[in-house]
């Protein structure tokens, strides 16, 4: 391979990029390092290994390389699944091995084709400043479109709501059981709630709290009476929105049993 500068450069680039992609902790930079290996170099080296005497011309070579790289990405998980699993290290090593293997085959085959043509270099476009400016404008519009699509907008017709939930929670002392109650405000406005927990055979606790839209809170209440392994404590929790104080039916209701001991 050492006699073939193009193959050497590809193999070296693939190895360096793949290692850096694993090492660099910033996901987008890691992706930018990985992309040439994952989406092009694996397929391109396979193409170089196959078409030695007369390499494929551009742009065909580009599109086939792209497709073969996708095919490698689809196929490589099968061996990796049985060779250590799909982990950053195995993935990275797998991609580099494909490039190195194909480059080695290409180098070996070139030896038996003395009249082999060198792969042509792609004619990269050299846009005028005007074209480059318009291209940047297009990219800016596309980026703006994506940012806009990720922007949350208001909609007064969307019906807000509140969620109430209940689950057992461990207490501070050994054998102490608690009920964990959660309120999730997905209403369109700041809302005040009255939450009542009624323990069967025990007491009743009422809390008043207020939440901004999109915020939630939880609180734990000690089960009364404390449950035993044979006799869990039943609790029913109701929630009313504050302007509904007088309403007979609660806005939300959950219920369940609190067992004797609960692990977090």
């Amino acid at each position: 391979m050492t006699r073939h500068r193009d193959l050497r450069a590809i193999a070296l680039a693939a190895a360096i990029l793949a290692v850096l992609a694993v090492v660099v902790p910033v996901d987008w930079i890691s992706f930018l390092l990985l992309a040439p290996v994952a989406f092009f170099l694996t397929g391109y080296t396979i193409l170089l290994a196959c078409f030695v005497e007369k390499p494929q011309p551009w742009p065909r070579a580009f599109w086939i390389s792209l497709a073969l790289s996708l095919a490698v990405l689809a196929l490589l998980p099968l061996p990796l699944n049985f060779l250590g699993g799909l982990r950053p290290g195995t993935w990275s090593a797998g991609l580099v091995l494909v490039v190195l293997g194909a480059a080695a085959i290409a180098a070996a085959r070139r030896g038996s084709y003395p009249s082999a043509e060198a792969p042509a270099r792609p004619a990269l476009p050299r846009p005028s400043p005007f074209a480059a400016l318009l291209g940047l404008g297009a990219l800016a519009l596309a980026a703006g479109a994506i940012v806009l699509s990720q922007t949350t907008v208001s909609n007064s017709d969307a019906e807000g709501f509140t969620a109430l939930w209940l689950k057992p929670a461990p207490g501070q002392g050994p054998g102490e059981a608690k009920a964990r109650i959660g309120i999730d405000n997905q209403e369109q406005h700041y809302t005040t709630y009255e939450v009542t927990a009624k323990f069967i055979g025990g007491g009743e606790v009422t809390r008043t709290l207020s939440l901004y839209p999109g915020s939630h809170t939880t609180f734990d209440l000690a089960a009364t009476p404390q449950p035993t392994p044979d006799d869990p404590t039943f609790v029913a929790v109701t929630l009313k929105r504050k302007p509904e104080e007088g309403a007979v039916a609660p806005y939300r209701r959950v219920y369940g049993w609190i067992p004797a001991s609960t692990e977090e």
Binding site: P59, A67, L86, Y190, G256
Partner: protein, 594 residues
């Protein structure tokens, strides 16, 4: 590309960028409830499609410029899909496949169970490929999936362009054919989603390109194509069942056509690749993906039965523009545009079939495309049979490759027009109808635009009821198996990270819509170890495309509620606890009493 052409292309890029922005604006307006949303969206689509098509018709455009324009069209339309629902997947299949990626992310191995679509883990091509980006770079499944499908889309466009160029012998025909292909019903949304076909179809296009190039290679070096073809074919086989079967059919057809012309099975006849694909498919089915038989046999046999019943008059034909879910009606104007689009395709096909026969009747590939183009119109007939609708819709995407070539091969720009200058304008206008008609035919009208999954309220963000359920499940929900309606189930899997059963097998769907508690329901829940039942009074919860969003005041689709009994009946189960309640959606723990 010379400077003038490069400048023209840059202008096309800017205009297409504007079109994408308009579509994004349309989606944002839709999420906000504005009536101008659809106008902005359609205007955006036309801003993308029409100038590019007009330039592709232009005889002065260069070959490379045409390829670049075709890619620009493909990328811009892909971005229209991306801005529809960023930054999360909202199509049913996308959530199912991203669950598989999450499983690989968590366990570092393939073939983990998918409770909603059991067959998908056995075709791990897409998820495996995505896991490379996820595992190495740390990108989210959504971002990695969007990038991967984007690269696949680009591959599809480039592959089809080079294929059409080689077969038709003209970059102009190729460019126009690719633009026409982009009008197929499934191009904008279905084919661009994070699903296995979105990766397999581009690979199929490249396999066809490689086969065509192989035919033109001297016999002594024809074997050089073997490795790339085998790699691409193997990748298709492990990525998507239907695409691999379509590949077998195509390879057999090409082999027979080549034999017909040459009376010789020797290379370049691709029969060994047809045989290889068949063997790989059978091996994959036998060793890994045996579930595929039951997965595909039911809908296919239902499709055949429905078609027979419709033809014999035993059942009424399916109405056009009728969605199986809870979609609202398609406006009359939109229906008219869609029908005009199909009519224009038929007109183009009539011209195209004559021209293709005249020019290429001694060549196998154009003949194959002619047969495929006929297949497209036959598949349209399947849309009239209720259970065959989906089969016809999916087949259309493959047949459209042939139809696009045949229509482009008509070279309509060279026909005798009343005014030579009017020809490109009229053809571009016709393209506009076909393009928008395809968009309307391919996706429910009221799902064309984004709906509010999250809403801004007093400067904060609130989530829709099913999304809030999924967020609760992820943070606070108990581990274990859940039973839920389709939309709730999909979100409970991703982002909820829970194991959920939905649909008909086992019959969770009927259990969740039946207001009375019957013994079979409890037996089924016990048998399948489904401890947590998610009840949802929204009828739309059964719709895997539209059931994720906020109920909107005044929108009748959200007013359709199931009987209260569908939820309250579980409170009668001894030992059942209601552990979550957000009004419309509740979660029952059937093993609530320890």
């Amino acid at each position: 590309m010379d400077r003038v052409r490069a400048n023209r292309f840059a202008v096309s890029m800017l205009v297409a960028g504007g079109g994408v922005f308009l579509c994004s604006l349309g989606n944002a307006l839709s999420r906000g409830g504005s009536g101008l949303a659809m106008t902005a969206y359609i205007l955006g689509l036309l801003t993308i499609g029409l100038p590019i098509f007009y330039r592709l018709l232009d005889g002065e455009a260069g070959d490379r410029e045409r390829l670049a324009l075709a890619c620009l069209l493909g990328v811009a339309l892909y971005l229209v899909k991306v801005v529809h629902d960023a930054p999360s997947f909202t199509f049913t299949d996308e959530l199912i496949h991203s669950f598989n990626v999450e499983q690989i992310r968590e366990h570092s191995h393939l073939f983990h169970h998918n409770p909603v679509l059991k067959v998908t883990p056995y075709y791990p091509g897409l998820e495996g490929a995505t896991s490379a980006l996820v595992k190495i770079s740390g990108l989210s499944t959504y971002t990695a999936g969007v990038i991967l499908v984007g690269v696949a889309r680009l591959t599809l466009i480039g592959g089809l362009f080079l294929l059409f160029e080689r077969i038709g012998g003209s970059a102009r025909t190729a460019g126009v054919a690719v633009a026409i292909y982009a009008t197929n019903f499934n191009f904008l949304f279905w084919g661009a989603q994070f699903s296995y076909e979105s990766l397999a179809l581009p690979l199929l296009a490249i396999v066809l390109l490689m086969l065509v190039e192989r035919e033109r290679t001297p016999a002594t070096v024809m074997g050089e194509w073997a490795a790339p073809l085998i790699v691409a074919i193997a990748a298709i086989v492990i990525t998507h069942h239907l695409t691999s079967y379509a590949l077998i059919v195509i390879l057999v057809a090409v082999s027979l056509l080549l034999w017909w012309f040459a009376r010789d099975w020797a290379p370049p006849n691709p029969w060994p690749y047809a045989l290889l694909t068949f063997i790989l498919v059978v091996c994959w089915l036998a060793v890994v993906a045996g579930e595929t038989f039951s997965y595909l046999s039911n809908p296919l046999s239902e499709a055949v039965e429905a078609l027979a019943n419709t033809i014999s008059g035993e059942s009424a034909p399916r109405g056009l523009f009728q969605d199986n879910g809870a979609a609202g009606p398609t406006p009359i104007g939109a229906r008219a545009v869609a029908l005009i689009g199909v009519a224009l395709l038929a007109v183009g096909w009539i011209f195209g079939i004559r021209a293709t026969w005249k020019r290429y009747r001694d060549r196998p590939w154009p003949l194959l495309f002619m047969l495929a183009s006929l297949g497209f119109f036959l598949a349209l007939g399947l849309r009239l049979a209720p259970a065959a609708w989906e089969t016809g819709n999916r087949a259309g995407e493959f047949f459209f490759v042939g139809l696009a070539f045949v229509i482009a091969a008509a070279g309509m720009w060279e026909l005798r027009w009343p005014s030579r200058r009017a020809a490109p304008w009229m053809l571009t206008a016709a393209f506009g109808f076909v393009f928008i008609g395809g968009v309307i035919s391919g996706w429910p009208w009221d799902a064309q635009l984004a709906k509010p999954l999250k809403v801004s309220a007093e400067g904060k963000t609130i989530s829709s009821p099913p999304l809030a359920l999924a967020e609760w499940a992820k943070e606070e929900g108990p581990e274990g198996n859940y039973a839920a309606a389709t939309a709730d189930a999909n979100l409970l899997m991703v982002p909820g990270g829970r194991t959920v059963t939905t649909g008909k097998n086992p019959d969770v769907e009927d259990m969740l819509t039946n207001p009375t508690l019957e013994p079979w329901q409890l037996r089924m829940l016990r048998k399948n170890d489904l401890r947590y039942v998610v009840t949802d009074r929204r009828e739309i919860a059964g719709d895997g495309l539209q059931g994720y969003f906020f109920p909107l005041i005044g929108d009748e689709r959200f007013d359709k509620l199931l009987f209260p009994g569908v939820a309250t009946k579980f409170s009668k189960v001894p030992g059942a606890a209601r552990i979550y309640d957000n009004g419309l959606i509740s979660v029952y723990d059937l093993g609530g009493r320890p």
